[in-house]
Symmetry: C2
Subunit: 455 residues, 2 copies
């Protein structure tokens, strides 16, 4: 029986015989009896196993080592010890897989850096048991939210011949024999007959699906070949990108807010044990922070108003806030504190935003929005998309983009164009917020970062 | 209001005023009135819109073109026409986005080849409305099945420095400037400081998570740089790879069977309209085929027994069945017909299977399983994994594999090794089976195949 099932049915199983399989997390043998801190990883809770001298193989049991896998049959009892309600009074313990004494994951405090170096073992540590179970729950919550609201889940292509954002930092995908190349490669001979890259966003393709199904979302990996060694950058990460037809910027914000609240509520409800653990050992106040988010009203304010507030603030800024320019981390922080909660900042200067965003009538700004969340910074970004063919072409020309290559995208504005909006949320950024973990390397099972591609 | 909502509430909305947004799929203007076949893509059902000469802008309405997007306000009525229960009696129609007469997706029969060439528009066609909504439903069903059964959803890395299957056909991922390469590249200068590829399977990493959480699954993209231009090969596809600790081959088959039946039932229940459409226009008998699967008992039989049955069959084979060798499509077909349903074939000759599969005591076979399904061929493959360190190392040495590079994987057998099993299911192969569509290019939003990487 798996432990999650055992704990769910613990009342009816009391005084009954059960058999469990799992690993010894910590073993404390004593003269007359022994305690085994036991887990199979199906829930945060561990089971205490007690064995006594009366058992035939007592001596053998006392020799069992941390990390070993065992099968235990015994009677489930109310526990008199502290820290657990029940315990298993062992009748037999069978060693399934031994574990040597040099097992790296001994029950003591390890640094996160060390745990990264044993990435294939760290999911067995309590912190990562919590983090990766929350990761799984949050992913399910996202699918549930969109599923219940009539969205079509859409798999955007990962290998692409186009460069959506106009940014250059993409990984190239090739089957050309690099050892034999001389001079400019002949991409006609490459696998796809042209140069191919890993996608940085599924948005443009999601727009094509939104004009077919009205409400769609992607949830898949994206890639950035950015040489940034920071706590918040990874080269491979997962993104959620909803795209909605007949939806303006205000409705877009409604969806962003309701999705985020749904996911946070879901995780608080279904990951209670994990959140308690993270609140206690990782980020005191975590649960309170998340509960506040669910109950808060999200402020909506323009970029221009933000700059005015920042300018009027009695603060010595490192970076002076300026109309028409981007805002910095210190500004984001101030604004969420000023409004005591999450803030949607809208109508950004067009020159610091992407080409596909809807141009406002002022000629200066676009219908873009960033969501700033206390303790998380920018958690999502979205926009209404430019649905006017001429305006979009003009903007692409201003930015010297190749309109021929993007003909299919432009044609969405020719063939029954509709107002539509969408947003993107980096899944790992959400997880950093949900778990209180600080480094993106610790919320990804096997992180890929510059110079690092292990396991 | 979106159409899925409107149809759900159609009884209470009768004789009430509603406003809808969507696209003209087909317009039949007549002298005294006009009919618009209207859809917003939120469900298979279209809404018939009727407008009459009494309306002020009647002449303008008659000029509306196929593919245009419109907003319609009117009264919902019971329809007296054939083919629909309700219709919308228009009061006003607003043109949102016009559509030229050369719109490629006119309401007539198009070839699948042509529709692939307009991949950004084809999701608007009825067939792809059905296919991609089934794709979305099947994905949700998979997450729901594993979520409800206590599995942790695990994102395997896509960029990897190792080659799991020992096969060579991988895409290389690089940021090296290919134009400037001369001779053997210095991979220390590449993004990750070593040669990197796109993964062909997340299984090995999933095993590390299974020894931490007991029950895990991946659902993500995988890649093959195989130069196969067939109906069933794509270079980028999605895989589901569950991995379960304390699970032998028989329990593995239990899970394969229960998951498949769950997903098929879910799609039949939640995709009723889509399945009706596909049954009618794509594969007559489709629903019946799927219902049969849900009700059938899956046979379990060894590879050796299969060969015996094939040899005894009164059939002239193109390929003679042989003990110790792989079986062919014609054999797969015969076996499922022989047993009138799905067949698990177990205990395969070790030399035609992967290194990580558990060696049976006969020294000749491994605890592997393929699931053969009538009308689908091999739908899933799985195995119990070799959990014995020495046996695994020996097998890798026989196959001249690099054990040093795989130390982390081998160590799972050192540190509390447990019996564990898993399987893989190609998502697109499932979709071909679920939809009756024949070509993998038509169940992937933007397929990537040799020589083809469009949109």
């Amino acid at each position: 029986m798996y432990l999650n099932e055992l704990f769910q049915k613990q009342e009816e199983l009391l005084e009954k015989e059960v058999t469990v399989h799992g690993w010894i997390r910590n073993h404390r043998p004593q003269k007359e009896f022994g305690f085994i801190d036991f887990s199979d990883g199906t829930c945060m809770k561990h089971l205490q196993i007690v064995y006594t001298k009366e058992l035939k193989d007592f001596a053998f049991f006392t020799s069992l080592k941390n990390g070993s896998s065992i099968e235990v049959t015994g009677i489930l009892k109310k526990s008199e010890g502290k820290g657990q309600e029940i315990e298993l009074q062992a009748k037999t313990i069978v060693l399934i897989g031994d574990c040597p004494l040099d097992y790296p994951l001994q029950p003591k405090r390890h640094s996160l850096e060390f745990l990264r170096s044993i990435g294939y073992l760290r999911p067995r540590a309590n912190l990562f048991q919590a983090v990766f179970r929350i990761r799984s729950l949050a992913a399910l919550a996202i699918h549930e939210y969109f599923g219940q609201n009539g969205y079509v889940y859409f798999h955007a292509p990962l290998i692409t011949a186009s460069d959506c954002e106009g940014a250059g930092e993409m990984f190239q995908v090739t089957t050309l024999p690099l050892d034999e190349l001389k001079g400019k490669p002949d991409y006609k001979k490459d696998f796809f007959g042209k140069k191919a890259n890993l996608t940085v966003s599924g948005q443009l393709q999601a727009e094509t699906f939104a004009t077919a199904f009205s409400k769609v979302y992607t949830f898949g990996p994206t890639f950035r070949a950015e040489n940034s060694n920071t706590k918040t950058h990874a080269s491979e990460f997962w993104m959620i990108e909803p795209e909605i037809a007949f939806c303006d910027l205000n409705q877009d914000m409604d969806i962003m807010e309701s999705m985020l609240k749904y996911v946070v509520s879901y995780v608080l409800e279904h990951g209670e044990e994990e959140m308690k653990f993270l609140d206690q050992y990782q980020q005191p106040g975590l649960i309170n922070k998340l509960q506040n988010l669910v109950q808060s009203n999200f402020t909506r304010i323009t970029h221009e108003q933000v700059i005015t507030i920042l300018k009027e603030a009695d603060v010595k800024w490192e970076f002076e806030p300026k109309y028409g320019e981007d805002i910095q981390k210190e500004h984001e922080k101030y604004i969420t504190e000023y409004f005591h909660g999450p803030v949607f900042i809208t109508n950004w200067p067009k020159d610091i935003k992407a080409f596909y965003m809807k141009q406002n009538e002022d000629g200066q700004t676009v219908a873009a929005v960033d969501l700033e969340v206390p303790g998380a910074g920018e958690l999502m970004g979205g926009s209404q998309r430019e649905e006017n063919y001429e305006k979009l072409v003009q903007r692409m020309n201003e930015l010297q983009m190749d309109t021929a290559e993007m003909e299919w995208y432009l044609n969405l504005r020719k063939y029954g164009s509709v107002p539509h909006s969408g947003f993107g949320m980096g899944f790992e950024r959400l997880l950093i917020y949900l778990t209180g973990v600080e480094n993106i390397r610790d919320v990804i099972p096997y992180p890929r970062t510059p110079g690092s591609c292990d396991f």
